[in-house]
Each structure stands twice: as C-alpha cells, then as structure tokens.
C-alpha cells in the first residue's frame, strides 16, 4: 500500500479540522439526522436553561449550581465527542482522497483540435481543467496525463506509481482491455492519443470525495435498519424517564432535572449513536486505503455479504501467464521441423505465451532470429475468440497455426487429414496435468503439441481456505479446456470453475447464482466484462480496464490487483461487525449505568435502596456524574476502534458470534462497572 506512512489515526492538522467541524455539526439541522444524538442535544439545551435558571433563582430544589453546570458540560462534551468521531472520519477520508487528487492538479494538456476541411489535427496547450468529455489530447514521453481517458491511438509505457504506489511501469495501448489511463500518471515512453472519458469534477475520485464529505452520502439499508433499532431504544428510555416522574411523585421523592436527563442520556445508546456515521465513513476510507474507489457506501456493505466470488484464473490464481515447457512432435515429424514450425507460428505473437515458446525454442538450440524479409512478407494472423488460434501466413504459401486442440483438429479433418490418436493422447495427458496443450499445424496438417504450464501463486490455497470459512464459494473463470481447468481448480482449492469461458458464460453463471438468492462479486477489466460487472452485486473494475468496465462496476481498483476482491470482502464484513459489536457494547453498558443512577435517584427517600448501590458509589451526585462522564468519554476512547474497525476472524459465524458476544457483550456489561467506580473515586472528592 502506498500510504503506510500515515499510520497515526490522529494527525495534528486533521484533528484541528475535525474539532472545528464538531462545533459546526452542532447545528440542529445536521443533528436531527441522528435521532439518538439529537435527543442528547435537546437534553443538553434543557440543562443549559436549568443551569442559567439556578444562577438567578436558586431555591435548592435542583441541586447546586456547580453540579448542574458540570452535568451540562459533560453532556455538551458528549455531543462534541460524537461529532468529533464523525468529523475525524470525514477528515481522514478526505485527506486520503485529496492526496490522490493532488496528483491531478492543473497540468498542461496537449489538446487536439481538428482543423480545416481535411480536419488536420492541430495541437494547442490548454489547462487540464478545461478538458471536457470527448476531447482528445496527446501525451508523449515525459508528459503527465492531464485527466482520465481512453487511448484511441498508440501504445505507451506509463508510470502509475502516483496512484498505485507500484513503481514498475505498465503498458497501456489502444483497443484491447488495457486502454484506460488515469489522470496524474506519467507517460515514460512513446506517444498516445487519448479521448477524455469524464467531465471535470465527475471522475470516480471526485465522486468518492463527495461521498466521504457527506454531501451525497446516503444511509445504507443496513444503517437505516440499525437507526430504527437505536431510535426504538431511545423511545423506550424516553418512556422510562418520563414515567419516572409520576412514579417518584408517588414515592415522595423529588427528582432533579439534572438527574432525570443524566439517566436518559446514559440509557439511550449514545456510544453507537455517536459512532455510527464514523464507522460507515471509515469503511469507505479503509477501502480507499486499499486503493479501491467505491461508488457508494452500500457497495462496501454488500461486499461483506458476498456468497460467490468469480475470479479470473490468470493473475489471480496463477502467476501472470503460462509458459511453454515442452514440445511434443507428431509421428513422422522431426523435432527440428516441429520446433521450426512453432517458432514461425509464434514469431509475431507478442503475448507472453508466444514469447515463452520462442524462449523455449532458443533453449533447445533452434534458430529464432527472423529476417526482415520474412517478417515483411508474412501475414500475422491474430488470435480471436472465434478462431481460437493464431499464427502466420508466409509468402511461400506455408500457413502456420497454433491454437486450441479442437479448433486445429476440426480444421485438419476438414482439410482431409487424419487426426491421430497419438496427438489426442498427448493433448489429454497435458491437460490432465494442468497444462494447456497448444496444437501446431502447418497447412492444416498437425505437426505436434506445445505444452504450456500454469504456475499457481504461492499462498493462494490458504486464502481460499479463509474464504471458505467465511462461507464464500470461489469460482475460477478460465479460457482453458475443462480438463486443465479442473486440474488447476483442484490444485488451487477453488470450489468451482468455468472452463472455456466466454464473456456470456460469466454473465450466465452470475445470473444462475443470483437466482438462487446468492450475492456475487467479480472483477473484470474488458469491455466484454461490462455486462457481467453490472450484473454482479459487487463489480470491481480494474483501473487499467476500459471505460465501459469502469462505468459498469461499483468499485474501481487502482492497483489492478485481482486478489483485491478478498480484501474488499473483509472490509465489508469488518464494517458490519464494527456496527454490531458497538451496538451490543452500547446497550450492555446500560446495566451498570442503571445500577449507578437508579439507587442515586431514590436513596434519599428510600435508604434501604443502599443495597442496590453495589458499586458503593460515594454520593448520589457523584454517582450520576460518574455515569455521565463514563458515557461521554467512552465515545472518544472507542473512536480508534470505530475507525480501524473490529477485526474480522474467519472462524465460522457461530464461533465469531461467541467471541464478539464475550468481548463486547460481557465486556460491555463489566467495563462500565469498573469505569464508573474509578471515576467516582476521583469525583467523589468534590461531590
């Protein structure tokens, strides 16, 4: 990750900004969105009036001025702390986003203007901020790319370290699935022509910043349900506190307003109420720190619920690309002839597989230097999904092809050649070992088979095991034939695979899983992935991918790292867990607060209730103050937990519930007993 340096949760400048915001957020219009804290605000206001009232007319029935003032201050601090939690989360998210945005400050752009009848391109230097969607600009070696766009012409090596932190340059070229460039990155070599793909201020990053700032932040369904729960708890305690007044009248016990409001504020779930929005923002922020830009808070939450994960084999499960490992010549063909055919069929093939064939041939001592005349006169046949083969047509009439066995076989049979069982044996043998057989033919006659092998990423089995414990099914998507796919799937430990996958296969698989009620996540980069990305519940587009893919998904991964999905799922789970555990903690706290405040309320008129004062608190005033102080300071104490998130452990749902219930449930019952008692030891000296 690029920003391990920013580890401290509370940087000085962020804290200053957040403190300022915590006061601005006191505005009732902002507070009313959070019913729990809004109730605290009303209570604080009432206390303010009571305190002022006592200043002018103290008949002693409401307690001393100092006591009331103190209660008011603590309540006010509770509000500030809650606002601070939200503000610091926002500030951190914003700072993170700003640091990304900095990379795309005003840069000169070489904008292309079509001029004259012949529409000859004329280049003018303009400011990057004037570029609008559809404009075209060019970038040459050394230029900073002014804004997000799609390469329409050319190929270039690009340094994307500004956004990904990865120093190795990457290649981006027009057409294909790696045509997207990001503003702020630097062209290292060659020249590209780029079409601007976003309006100014509407890039994903801009959207993300708006989300964090709260301007366009909407509550997620889960947050809404939780808010209902918290509002209901608040209502219960409104009833409890309001009815307490006539109860106390009956018992001939005067209750001060300060005590009643303190009881109320302590009982309503202020801890979770104060931290709720901070938790949500921190979730998006954590995603951003993992270099994932989310288009909505909901996407992060949904990620936690994912049941099925579609993973591309290449790059996720296996390292990069396959390598040629062996040449098998057909009967009646010499080794040398076969290798020569292989070399010719792969000469113009720029794919890593193609290159690895040349390399293998070289290691076998074959001549691999092509003459210019040969290349100039030959026609390179590109790989397409339909023909599923590539190769070269030479001037002298030799047509060399390498490709999937069934395609080559079909062509050979069509041309009247016999398809020997020997070749079949080799092909199935390779496939069964997890290799990919590449059959080579010359003028449709089968010459032999090249074996390509996949190398499975180290440690990937453990990750899949972890996912399985989370209850997530992993599905490997590969263009390989079923035999190869099965071998790799078993070796890597994925639960299912889609072999010989065409883009629509992914789509169908997603639809099938969704029909049975499952949530599916996938990652993709190509334009042909776009429909599936849109269909998936969580679609993560790679930043290097096409614009269409990025539009279709609901997250963009700046690192182009296919294993990122696993991290995203954990971030989503962490978000929900943090909410759940802090809710439990908040409600569990009430037990101790009751034991502090309720005896304090009635002890004057019912001395026997001393038996309920199990904490042996010093006096009614100190008991009430200790409870409100505890209630207030627990919020800032828990801010780091809210921002970092409660750790997710893939140990199965029941075990996780047991663990969290023990820590946050029982802990939530016990901790305030200790905390309130400690505060009382200090406060007791004054009240």
């Amino acid at each position: 990750m690029s920003n391990t340096a920013n580890k401290s949760l509370f940087q000085k400048d962020l804290v200053t900004e957040a403190l300022k915001q915590s006061f601005i957020k006191l505005h009732p219009k902002a507070m009313v969105k959070n019913p729990v804290m809004f109730c605290v605000e009303i209570g604080t206001l009432v206390m303010l009036f009571v305190t002022i009232g006592i200043l002018f007319n103290n008949n002693g029935s409401q307690g001393s001025f100092g006591y009331n003032l103190f209660v008011f201050i603590v309540l006010f601090l509770t509000l500030i702390f809650a606002n601070f939690a939200e503000a610091i989360a926002e500030a951190r998210g914003k700072a993170q986003a700003e640091s990304l945005r900095k990379t795309r400050e005003e840069t000169p752009a070489k904008k292309v203007f079509p001029v004259g009848e012949l529409r000859i391109d004329e280049i003018k230097i303009v400011s990057s901020s004037t570029l609008v969607k559809g404009d075209i600009f060019i970038c040459e070696a050394g230029d900073i790319i002014p804004t997000d766009g799609e390469i329409i012409e050319g190929l270039a090596t690009i340094d994307e370290s500004a956004i990904t932190g990865e120093s190795a340059p990457v290649i981006r070229e027009s057409g294909g699935d790696k045509s997207s460039v990001t503003g702020g990155t630097k062209v290292l070599s060659d020249k590209i022509k780029v079409r601007v793909s976003t309006e100014p201020g509407e890039s994903f990053l801009d959207k993300m910043i708006a989300l964090v700032e709260g301007a366009s932040r909407q509550k997620t369904p889960n947050e809404i349900a939780l808010t209902i729960l918290l509002a209901a708890f608040t209502l219960v305690f409104i009833i409890v506190c309001v009815t307490l007044k006539p109860f106390a009248d009956y018992a001939n016990t005067p209750i001060t307003i300060a005590a009643l409001i303190s009881l109320f504020v302590c009982l309503i779930p202020t801890t979770i109420g104060g931290l709720l929005s901070a938790i949500g923002i921190a979730g998006m922020d954590r995603a951003l720190r993992a270099n994932v830009i989310t288009k909505s808070g909901k996407a992060v939450e949904t990620a936690g619920d994912i049941d099925v994960l579609l993973l591309d084999k290449t790059g996720t499960i296996t390292i990069g690309n396959r390598k040629a490992t062996h040449f098998y010549h057909a009967d009646g063909i010499t080794v040398e002839t076969f290798i020569e055919c292989c070399v010719l069929a792969s000469f113009a093939d720029e794919t890593p597989e193609g290159k690895s064939i040349i390399e293998l041939a070289k290691s076998k001592g074959a001549k691999t230097q092509a003459t210019d005349t040969l290349l100039n006169e030959a026609v390179f046949i590109k790989f397409t999904a339909e023909t599923r083969s590539s190769g070269m047509d030479l001037k002298n009439g030799r047509r060399l092809r390498k490709g999937a066995s069934d395609t080559i076989k079909k062509n050979a049979i069509k041309a009247g050649y016999e398809y020997s069982t020997g070749i079949d044996k080799i092909v199935t043998g390779i496939a069964a070992n997890g290799g990919t057989p590449l059959v080579v033919s010359e003028n449709e006659k089968i010459m032999g088979v090249i074996e390509l092998q996949d190398i499975i990423k180290p440690g990937i089995q453990e990750r899949f095991e972890r996912l399985r414990k989370m209850g997530i099914k992993t599905v490997m998507v590969t263009g390989d034939n079923p035999l190869t796919a099965k071998f790799i799937a078993e070796k890597a430990g994925v639960d299912d695979y889609i072999a010989e996958a065409k883009p629509e296969d992914k789509m169908n698989y997603i639809k099938k899983e969704q029909a049975s009620g499952k949530l599916v996540a996938m990652m993709g980069d190509g334009t042909n992935d776009a429909p599936a990305l849109a269909q998936a519940d969580v679609g993560v587009a790679m930043n290097s991918g096409t614009q269409a893919a990025k539009e279709a998904g609901n997250m963009v991964d700046l690192d182009n790292d296919p294993t990122k999905l696993i991290e995203i799922v954990e971030i989503g789970k962490q978000l929900l867990i943090t909410r759940g555990t802090l809710t439990t903690f908040s409600i569990a706290n009430d037990v101790a607060k009751y034991f502090a405040i309720v005896p304090a309320l009635f002890i004057a008129s019912i001395p026997a209730l001393q038996g309920l004062n199990i904490m042996k608190l010093h006096s009614p005033e100190s008991a009430i103050l200790s409870a409100v102080i505890f209630n207030a300071i627990i919020i800032p104490i828990l801010i780091p937990l809210a921002l970092r998130g409660v750790e997710y452990k893939p140990i199965g749902a029941s075990a996780l519930l047991r663990r969290n219930l023990l820590i946050y449930g029982f802990g939530g019952i016990l901790l305030p007993f200790v905390g309130i008692k400690l505060i009382d030891l200090v406060i007791g000296a004054f009240f």
């Binding site: 409890v240 109860f247 009248d249 399985r468 759940g580 029941s654």
Partner: protein, 572 residues
Amino acid sequence: MNTELIGVVASYAITLLLAIPLGKYISKVFNNEKTLLDFISPVERFIYRICGIDTTQEMNWKQHLMALLSINLIWFVWAFVLLLTQGSLFLNPDGNPSMSPDLTFNTAISFLVNCNLQDYSGESGATYLTQLFVFNFLMFVSAATGIAALIVVFNAMRDKVTDKLGNFFVIFTKTITRILLPLSIIIAVLLAFNGSPASYAGKDTIITMQGDTTQVSRGPAAGMIAIKHLGTNGGGWFGANSAHPLENPNYFTNMLEVIAQVLIPIAMIFALGFYIKRKRFSYVIFGVMTIGMLSLLIPTMMAEIKGNPAITEMGIDQSAGAMEGKEVRFGAAASGYWSIVTTIISTGSVNSMHDSSMPLSGNMQLLGMMVNSFYGGCGVGILNYYIFIIIAVFISGLMVGRTPEFLGRKIEAREMKIAMLIALLHPFIILVGTALSAWTLVHYPNADWVVKPSTWLNNPGHHGFSEMLYQYTSCAANNGSGFEGLGDNNVFWNVTTGFVLLLGRYLPIIGPLAIAGILAKKKYIPESAGTLKTDTGTFGLMTYAVIMIIAALAFFPALVLGPLAEYFSLYH
C-alpha cells in the same frame, strides 16, 4: 429433597413428558397427516359447510389478519350484549344483576383477549348463561385465535417462497376440534371426579363446623376450569379462582391444573420443530425459555420456602414457608411454582394470593409478565418470542459481519420497524398506565368519583405501587392475575385497563404475523458456512440477553420503586 419440592419437580416432568408427544400430534394435525382423532373430520366438514368455508382457499397474511380481527369483533359484540343484560336473561338461578357498562366493557374485552382480568366475582357478578356462553365460549375461541395465528406464522417459516399461508378458518376450527375440546373433556372429567361442581343447581346451604349456616355457590364449573388452564385464560368460575376449594379441591387437581396450563405453550414449541422440520431450532427455543423460567422460579421458591423474616422476628414458626395468602393443602413450594407458571404464560389463574407473596416473588411474577415470552400464552408466547428472535438475529447478524437473515430471509428496515414497535409497545402501555394511575392518585386523591383515587390501594407505599404496576402489567401481558389489594372495579381502572388489554393483545399478534408474511415472500437464501445459525446455544444466549435487556432494562426503575424497594426494606 422434601416432598414439597418433589411435587413441583414431578409436575414439571409430567408436563414435559406430555408436551413432546402433544407437540408431534399438533404438527400432524396441521400437516394433514393421519391422527387418532380423524373420526372428527365429518363434524369439521359439517362446520365448514354451514359456515360456507372454502377449505382450499389459501390466504396471505393480510387476509389472515382480516379474518382473525373480524371474528374477534363479532365475539366482542356478542359478549358485550350478553353481559350487559344477563340479569334479565335465563340460566340465572341466583338472581345475579347485569353488569355496569364500564365493567361490561372491561370484562368483554378481557375474556376476548385471553386475559380474564375479572374485576367482578363469579359467584355474584355473572350468571350461568354468561359463565357458559360468554366466558367459557371466549376461553375456547381466544385460545384458538392465538394458536391459529401462530400456525400461520409456522406456515410462513417454511423454506418455500410463498404468500399462501393456509386458510385461517380451517386452522381455527381444527385447533378447537382437534386440540382444545378433546383435552378439555379429559381434564374436566378428572376435575369433576375430584369434587369440582358440574351442576346447574343454584346455591347450596351448608352448616359449617362452627355451626353457622352458610350458602355455597355452585354451577357447571368443571368444564370452565379445564379450559381456563388449557387455553391459558385463567378466569375462575369462583372469585377466589383456583384457591377456592371447589375450583381446586386437592393436591392432585392442583397438579392437574398447573400441568394443564403450561402443557400447550410447551407443546407448541416442539410442534414448531416438527412442523417446519427444524427440531434443533425448537430445542434452543425451549432451552432459552426454560432457563428464563428457572431464573424467575428458583429465587421465588427460595423466598417462599424460607418464609418472611419479619414474621419470624415476631416469634411465629415459619417452617412451612411464607403461608400468608396460601392454601394449606398446596403449601409454599407448589404455590410458588404455580405463581411463576401462571405469570410467565398468560394464564393468570391463582392458587394463592400474589398480593401476599414475598417481595422477591412479586418481583419475579411481574418480570414474568413483563417478558411474557418464557413459554408464554397459547400461541402468543412464541409470537412474542418471535419478535425477540428478529431483534437478536439483527444484532448478531451484524456481529458476524453479514446482513442479518433469519431462516433464509433477509431482515431489513421494514421488519425491524415492526419488531421494534411491538417490543416498544409492552413497556409503553405498562409504564404509561402505571404513571397515569400514580399521577392521578398523587394529584387528585379526592377527585369526586364514585371510588375516590385515595381509596384505590389497600396498602400504602411500595406495595401500593406494586399493586398498580401489577394491574397494568397483567393487562398488557393479557395475564389476568392481580395483586388483589387494588380496588379495580371502577370507571378509571375498567376503562384504562380495557384499552391496555386491547393494545396488548392485537398488536403483538399483528406484528409477528406481518413480519412472517413479509419474510415468507422474500427470496430464499440457502444457508452457507457464513450464515449465522439460529439453532445454536450461542444464538439462544443472544436471544436471552435481548429479552432480559429489553424487558428488564425498561422496567428496572419501576421494579425498584415497587417490589425491590420492599425487598430491600425487609432485608435491610
């Protein structure tokens, strides 16, 4: 172990032994499987025919509610008219008068909603006609209403996606013909053989041992006593309820009645497991409810057996336990057991005076009604528990990092809204009602009413507060028992508790039914390793915690001012 405790343990063990096969039987009845009582089906077909019920027509949850509420409304009118005019109608050998309008209002509602508050006394306030055709009738149909509502929720809990949840009238009819009637007949016969009256003759005259002549009320009581327990109704034929020697003549009938009242509530838990084929789930529910019951029962029995220290100080022997307000033929242990059973389920019949229970027992009886879902009333107990499950599922779902789901359906904002509303309702009506009466008592003690507020309470101080709290709690829980010191037959109490009864009955039926109906229509998500299982001990613990925190926390201050203050004063 002394014999008193053996009696209690035996009562519970027999209940359990009967409840499991009964649960299986109930599941079979509603699954249309073969049972021994299939010979009744011609009778049922006859009922369907004359009532014009199309047995094949399945209803969605809204139609079920419409059916349930409309027949309830009809019964209310029926009860209201009969009670208001009973004095001038037939089957009134003792010449008892008609009820006053406010008492009629209260009584009609209280029997309709399975509460049986009884602000009147059966001997002098009702006639044989109303006892049989209002009270006895409503005891059957109100219990059947609760069970039928629960069966609809069972239908919704199965794993298919549907909005067809069976036909309400069919479920309702079968509940009566296949479950309540056969069991009532057995129990009524056993009671009659043990001395409960089953005669239409009026008062009898006897000469007491002191030689005085006194009149003893009678009537066809045995049948009503049977259904009052089986249907968790609790309304006695006689004013003293099951403490009356004719309503509960001996230790055997005492066992019989205490078994009968908790039999169906426990059987319904097992029926759930058999019916939706999730036995583990029902065992966990049973476990949580049983632990809940024990946590109330054990302190109660200990307090009752130990006796009152204030009386010990006076030099009076307490070896039999706290015997004030208890019948010698039952003793302290059996009375303590009964008092908890009758309050956790919504029966509210009594064999001792709760007003005289030890303060801690009073506290536990109140808590039992405040929770109202440790076993709970016929059908409605599990419906109340269902709400707590939804809340527990929601919180624990979050704790394991998954959008909460229950039996394969996602719990979202709408369901949470309903669940929280219902969970809120109980504290709301109890606390607001008690606050209203406390406020009236303090500020208008001498209001110019027929019964002055200052004369409501039999006891001053904390105990008086408990009496008011108990009355509203009992109404909200549709329990019907009372801290009898309260002077409750007057306009204020009859009317306020009438409304509390209505709210406390119908909303907790509508809520779970709505949630279950909405969930049943949702997409079914098959379980995976990441799904939180609801049939584990951990989840049971979570539900227990949710119940205790919602119920106990909301009522804590009220309990402190009532029974707990009394407790601490006594043991200070």
